[in-house]
């Protein structure tokens, strides 16, 4: 119970801080809009277009990854720079519970992106996204925020030693967009890429959102999405525990 309270409070606090940052807040919303605009034009002029609703949805979700990729992977770097990292490690709370709300906050910023993109699509391109089944749709949105936040958590842990973590995070932006089927159907990707797609939570989140908006079974997809999120968190927590122990022994985490 206390843990849940901590997670919720911590998440809210970091969300507040990120919202006030020009780079993590403003740019995180604006950047994907450029890509959305290009995508809308491409699909509009393409031969295989049809309705642009799915494109708008895909573009909207792209923003959630943008908000997370750089911000989450450099989360521990930020704490280190602020001098708060050693205080966090010195607290009786497990560092995983401290870090997870931070990355979840970065993906929550993505909600701004979703709203901004859908408004952009509607107002400037006249693209309307129906929401056939609001509940699965909402669940899909929640799922994608949670799974991307969890993936961000895993990345934050994996890159904790690297001072250039942000660059590696930035590197993953386009590949995730491509591989998770936001704008490009997975079926168009080479065969060897598909297992990677299926192993990524955002792929399933996208399917759930799509089903929620346009009809179709969403529950299974949402389920896999959340399950994968859980796996990422578990893996990240395990890895983090080992790293902190190792760091205490060898003074390698350079907490300051």
């Amino acid at each position: 119970m206390r843990t849940l309270r901590l997670l919720a409070f911590s998440w809210l606090l970091h969300f507040k801080m990120l919202s006030q940052s020009a780079f993590d807040g403003f740019l995180a919303i604006l950047w994907p809009l450029f890509f959305a605009t290009v995508a809308f034009f491409m699909f509009r002029h393409g031969h295989r277009s049809g309705a642009l609703g799915p494109v708008a949805l895909g573009a909207a979700v792209m923003g959630v990854w943008t908000a997370t990729s750089v911000s989450a992977s450099s989360a521990l770097q930020r704490e280190r720079r602020m001098g708060t990292l050693e205080l966090l490690v010195a607290s009786p709370t497990n560092l995983a519970f401290v870090l997870l709300p931070v990355t979840l906050a970065t993906s929550t910023i993505g909600l701004y992106c979703i709203v901004a993109t859908l408004i952009w699509a509607r107002v400037l391109f006249g693209i309307h996204v129906p929401v056939e089944h609001p509940l699965p749709f909402a669940l899909g949105i929640l799922g994608i925020v949670v799974t991307i936040g969890s993936l961000g958590f895993l990345m934050a842990v994996a890159f904790v030693r690297s001072r250039r973590a942000w660059a590696i995070g930035a590197l993953t932006e386009y590949p995730i967009w491509l591989v998770c089927g936001f704008l490009v159907p997975i079926s168009l990707l080479p065969g060897w890429v598909r297992p990677i797609s299926w192993a990524l939570g955002p792929t399933w989140g996208m399917r759930a959102i799509h089903a929620g908006a346009f009809g179709g079974p969403a529950w299974a997809d949402a389920g896999v999405c959340f399950a994968l999120a859980l796996c990422y968190v578990a893996a990240g927590a395990l890895l983090l525990g080992r790293m902190v122990d190792g760091a205490r022994r060898a003074a390698t985490l350079s907490l300051t």
């Binding site: 780079f23 403003f26 740019l27 491409m42 699909f43 002029h45 031969h47 590696i168 590197l171 490009v184």
Partner: protein, 261 residues
């Protein structure tokens, strides 16, 4: 003495502009891998949309991505000059002002050229887009003029960077604008009229068009109009950028404002 300082420090700054994102951990992801990913991304979106050929997207994105080093490296160069306090001396030196500035811009242009050429090659390889040796030979000057032109925009960005705090945000905004307007993924003619006008006033637009023509077999002579326009745009932007830098720098000295580090 000041001359010597400008020379040596200038060399160091130029070095930084060339391998500017100094650490390989930044250079490789940002300037080698990401442009290839961008090419793949848009090529596949193009396939999903049934829009244009892979070649269209390979050329468009390879050249558009050159704007990243052109903008970021140029801004960093000017910021470094400011930091080392060699900017003032360069601006007020009576002789060699222009050559000095060109000297600063050269590594940035080289960086941009490398990024464009390499990602064009690698992206093309991955997608099965082949360009013959002759086509590469004709492409080289087009790429050069395009990156030169984009560096002009980089100078304007650098000037603005002397004044505003969030330079990273501004640079990213320019890169995004170029992505939408310069014809990298949408033919300028297909855009609404006003957007087309904006696009044609920006660097890279004419260069990308020329590069696509050359890749389809056109001779350099056939695209000379486009290349010339691109070069002109570059010079114009460069002049404006230079003027802005001078104005801001001299203003800051007069008003004794911040030595922004």
């Amino acid at each position: 003495m000041k001359g010597l300082r400008v020379f040596f420090v200038g060399g160091y700054i130029s070095y930084r502009a060339l391998f500017g994102f100094l650490s390989p951990w930044v250079f490789v992801p940002t300037l080698v891998l990401t442009p290839i990913f961008q090419i793949l991304l848009f090529a596949y979106i193009g396939r999903a949309a049934g829009a244009r050929s892979d070649e269209f997207y390979v050329i468009g994105n390879a050249m558009q991505y050159a704007s990243v080093p052109c903008l970021f490296a140029m801004t960093q160069t000017i910021a470094d000059e400011r930091f080392w306090q060699t900017l003032g001396p360069i601006l007020i030196s009576p002789a060699g002002r222009l050559p000095m500035f060109l000297g600063r811009a050269l590594p940035v242009i080289a960086n941009g050229l490398f990024v464009a050429a390499f990602s064009l090659f690698a992206g093309g390889l991955l997608l099965g887009v082949h360009l013959s040796g002759a086509e590469w030979l004709r492409l080289a000057p087009v790429l050069l003029v395009a990156t030169f032109s984009c560096t002009g925009l980089g100078l304007i960005n650098a000037a603005l960077g002397l004044r505003i705090r969030e330079t990273a945000v501004l640079s990213n905004v320019f890169v995004g604008i170029l992505l939408v307007f310069c014809g990298a993924n949408i033919a300028v003619d297909s855009l609404p009229a006003w957007m087309g006008h904006v696009g044609r006033a920006l660097p890279l637009t004419h260069g990308i068009e020329a590069a696509r023509d050359v890749a389809r077999g056109a001779s350099l002579h056939a695209v000379r109009g486009l290349v010339a326009t691109e070069a002109l745009i570059g010079i114009l932007y460069g002049v404006v950028g230079f003027g802005l830098i001078r104005w801001f720098e001299l203003q800051s000295r007069r008003l004794a404002t911040l030595e922004r580090v």
